[in-house]
Subunit: 649 residues, 2 copies
């Protein structure tokens, strides 16, 4: 029941405060009531789930935020308007062009355009960029115009724009709007930024072909990708980040450092871990295994296939069969490559009686799973058809749930802390108005409350996404930030009320009755493959010592020092240090260059002086000479650096 | 060309010496010419590949051996004759019985018999055993009689034995023999021992149903299994060994100790490694990984599926598809669960250029493979559909082959030495008269010569089996003996000249030309699953400390000592000791019993005296009290015992 007078609207601001405004107020009015500066920087506003132009009347009460460049909604608006600006520039330069669609995307925007017989080249892009800057400086307003359908059709028939006419066919009279800036008018739902002068820097990135409506029976249009920024320096930073990302590309470094191999004869999307990659992965596994052991997990190993009954019971077959490999016939039954480890673990839990005293049971597995992905989606180690999860399932009582979730968050934070990767969390809760969820409402409410309490207690930044829970329980997603500031969703902690029912899992409580445990599904790295791809790019291949496939390269100055080099190599190996011994009869400069290319953290140069003094000349990757060290001091420092999992300087 | 006179035969004895005998001589003549004792103990002789009665004329020259009880051929003859003795006893007791077939088997013999409406029970077996002993004491000769087919048919028509008549249908006139002892005559090809009195001890083991000709449309006969010995004490030892084997059965202990689980919903023949089993397996893997690292292997990890082109190239598909899981459709190609790791490793080798300076390349993987087995063949961990090989492939030059084989043998001996398992080797060579082998003859001859040289140099017992090589190269099989004296074929070292061709593997030699490497396939444990089943039975679950899933159980005498117990548990965990802390409010006797059942090597009892003195009362599994120890001394002894991989006393 709304008790407000009808001539007011009530806005709930992000800090939870509620403000009343006259009906007819715009986003700009609200922004100005807060601060002039904010109003100046505002790009759009969001009311409930809808983004609106700054100057549009706010249609109703609701949750309200002002979108500056620093927000996702702000960037979305900015890039949407930039697509229109590009269209205007193109129209000026190529008057016969026809326009398809031009949406904002994750990083920038694109527009699909029909240049007729003309072929756009990368050289043409600069011309368009310059025109965009020129038009932006005109400070043209983005004007929203509501247009009757008939009038809209007339306009585009007149203009001769068949794609817009095609789009208009799907729209109903009364919901059609145009946006106009400078000499360009587009069929568009909006919203847009106030005016073009906010766009200060432009880069058109790429040209691609795109079928109209994505249908290859239709004409192929020219798609131009671009990105824009409200400051020139931001574009410079962005381009630098792209260069860095390219330099750090895990596909390039993965090959150069011998981490992995994709071989078409073995299969697309099926990475082979090469010797150096295997060392890296085994170190990550050992690290996680030790942490899990310390935290009361028990490791298990389950087969890579399972009877299809497992997945029929869990409900993953046939509902998810599009992302699964086809079943195999065995005797008169069907088996599947396992797409997840859960049912196997549930059957382990079910193989024994459990008392409440035994809970929580925490079963962990480095479990390799296989899921079908379209071949076009496959990408190095980051998108594959076979991957290994650092998986675990925790079977606990409802009373233990909060502490177990806290433990999971603690483990995840600890793990990513080791790599200096900040972690944010996103809490995915149920939509109270939906009916699709399994498990009792009271349990959900308690679990969601407890998840939130835990998030508060551990003091992590979090957002809550209602309606994003899975059907079997609420979950926490971990979003980590890499050295380039890119965000990656990795680990997850999911509460599950449904599988205990489906697999008939029980424990005997202190009341001597059978009860259902709750299950937590969790995987901090998520996938060893994907995490490794991120790790390669995060460190640009300059791994911390404990992860470096080769930790030390010994470079004797000539054959005269080979015996000493052998001796040193043996001493290092005895301390479990991974050593390369470069006895080639190359110049020392060439040996150093090769070790640098292989990103080996330490180089030990051994010559006459070192032989005489029992020292080594130590060179550090990317840093150069560190000077002369007593060999045994060097070893003990090295062992300390490995044990401490110290990050590279 | 045979230069002998026609009235002589020439026999090559096992020591390589050659002896001439008059034509018409029998095995007994030869044995007696060597020693009266030998002739007395001889059960049969083997001429080339044929086993013959002692008193049969030797038909031609050839390789000759005398078969006593200590030989496989001797036991084969003994048990064959024992089957006839059982038949005689049954005929005496059940005059209407009809006889099917009665062969010797691996351990003893059986006879399939038709008792009409009568149903034999286990109680009847003792009666038959007694009758057999009574008949054996009659010292009846086994007489060989050549019988024309017509006469043979008449005999069994007369006797009314339809199964023998059925067998006779398949035989040709001139090749039919009867054997007769006492009052029993059988259609039989032989050979047999000289007389029944050699059979001193009899045990009939079991009764089963068996369809005539194994066809379920035929009548079901009664199969009686038995075993016999030339000495009473041998039977006692055998029955004791069976009891021990039963006590040690890995399926029973595997469950009791939480090693593994077979769950029908996951799949038959697909073992799940439970937490304790996973600890055991990870210890074995870590041990093997460390040894391999020390010996210059590089570890890799490859996917569990592969494009079918891999197996078409290797030739394993479609030729071995009966033992493979059915292919899966992926896009427009077929993929298979990998039945072996080889093609994946070959592709890793092929992904880079190799110089002779880089060889040998040794790629190791704990590779899980899947092979289809009939469900009736599956057995615990020892016969499964999915298993993990401690696999490796060594790519080397022909000149490096000998040293690499030696290294493989050395590793295998070292590994089994750790478990106190003696190793014999069997060299499987090509049959010179066959044409089915791949690779150049000169390479084969060199490889076989070198394998033999290595076997001599390392001083291992070996036998040579000609014609047992695989088509791609000669191989060495390792046969280990467990604590019960049972032999198991485990590891293998195979030389391969064929796959380098099929996968077009090369290296650039010092002549700057491309050459083919040789491949060695090797796996010391063979399969982690099967080896674990043997290990469980070898140690009867009383594993050496380093392999024990739980190494120490701390048993506080009451709650008053729980804090101290916690403190001790933490100290042990810090030293990577696997600890169980039994804080239940049970009597100490019950806690000890449970720890004994779980076969935990050490129990630490903590009470008032221990608390006051900083000591622990140590109890050892199966040994009882060891007395009082200073806790830190106990820890350092324990760590030493783990590190040394010491066997249980």
């Amino acid at each position: 029941m709304d008790i407000m007078k009808e001539d007011k609207i009530r806005l709930t601001l992000p800090d939870g405060s509620i403000k009343e405004f006259e009906k007819g107020s715009t986003g700009r009015d609200v922004a100005e009531s807060i601060s002039k500066g904010l109003a100046r920087n505002a790009l759009s506003v969001t009311l409930d789930d809808e983004i609106l132009d700054m100057d549009r009347e706010l249609p109703h009460s609701g949750a309200f935020k002002i979108n500056t460049w620093d927000t996702d909604d702000g960037k979305y608006t900015f890039w949407h308007s930039s697509a229109h600006l590009m269209a205007e520039a193109v129209q000026e330069l190529y008057p016969d062009v026809k326009f398809g669609i031009g949406p904002p995307i994750d990083q920038g925007f694109y527009y699909d355009m029909d240049f007729g017989d003309e072929k756009l080249t990368l050289e043409d892009l600069e011309k368009i960029e310059n025109k965009m800057i020129e038009l932006a400086r005109q400070k043209n307003e983005y004007k929203r115009i509501e247009v009757p359908k008939k009038e809209a059709i007339d306009y585009f028939e007149n203009k001769g724009d068949p794609y817009k006419l095609d789009l208009l066919e799907g729209l109903e009279d009364g919901e059609i709007t145009f946006y106009e800036q400078g000499k360009f008018t587009d069929l568009c739902r909006g919203p847009h930024i106030p005016s073009t002068d906010k766009i200060k820097a432009v880069k058109l990135m790429n040209i691609a072909g795109a079928y109209w409506h994505g249908d290859e029976n239709n004409k192929q249009l020219t798609r131009v990708y671009g990105i824009t920024f409200p400051k020139k320096s931001m574009l410079d930073d962005y381009l630098h980040m792209l260069d860095e990302a390219k330099r750090r590309d895990h596909k390039k470094l993965g090959k150069q450092l011998g981490i992995y191999l994709i071989d078409s004869m073995v299969g697309q999307g099926l990475p082979i871990w090469l010797p150096n990659g295997t060392i890296l992965r085994r170190e990550l596994e050992a690290f996680m295994r030790a942490e899990q052991k310390r935290r009361g997990y028990q490791e298990v190993i389950t087969p890579h296939i399972g009877n299809i009954r497992l997945y029929e019971t869990s409900g993953h077959y046939p509902y998810y069969s599009h992302s699964q490999f086809t079943p195999m016939d065995v005797d008169d039954e069907k088996y599947m490559l396992k797409p997840m480890n859960c049912p196997h673990h549930h059957r382990i839990y079910a193989s024994e009686m459990h008392s409440y005293r035994d809970l929580p049971v925490r079963l962990a597995e480095f479990g390799s799973v296989y899921r079908y992905e379209q071949s076009g989606e496959l990408n190095g180690l980051s998108r594959v058809r076979g991957f290994t999860q650092d998986d675990a399932h925790i079977y606990c009582t409802q009373d233990q749930l909060k502490q177990e979730i806290k433990n999971c968050i603690d483990l995840t934070e600890y793990v990513f802390g080791i790599f200096d990767m900040p972690v944010d969390i996103r809490l995915s809760f149920r939509d109270e108005n939906e009916d699709k969820y399994g498990g009792k409402t009271e349990y959900w409410e308690r679990a969601q409350r407890e998840i939130r309490e835990v998030a508060d207690e551990v003091g992590m930044d979090y957002t809550i996404e209602e309606g994003e829970a899975s059907f079997y329980g609420p979950k926490i997603d971990f979003i980590i930030k890499d050295a380039l500031g890119r965000k990656w969703q990795l680990g997850t902690v999911q509460v599950d009320y449904v599988m205990p029912e489906r697999f008939d899992l029980t424990y005997v409580g202190s009341d001597n009755q059978k009860h259902r445990p709750v299950i937590i599904h969790r995987a901090p790295f998520g996938s060893m493959e994907r995490f490794t791809s991120i790790l390669i790019e995060h460190f640009a291949g300059d791994f911390p010592l404990w992860l470096s496939p080769i930790q030390v390269s010994i470079l004797p100055l000539s054959d005269d020092y080979n015996d000493l080099a052998d001796n040193y190599a043996d001493q290092l190996k005895n301390e479990d240090i991974r050593v390369n011994l470069d006895k080639r009869s190359e110049q020392i400069g060439a040996k150093i260059r090769d070790a640098e290319t292989q990103k080996i953290p330490y180089m030990l140069i051994i010559g006459e002086k070192e032989k005489a003094n029992g020292t080594v000349a130590v060179r550090k990757h990317k840093k150069g000479n560190l000077g002369s060290f007593n060999f045994s001091d060097f070893i003990s420092n090295l062992v300390k650096e490995v044990t401490s999992k110290k990050l590279p300087d």
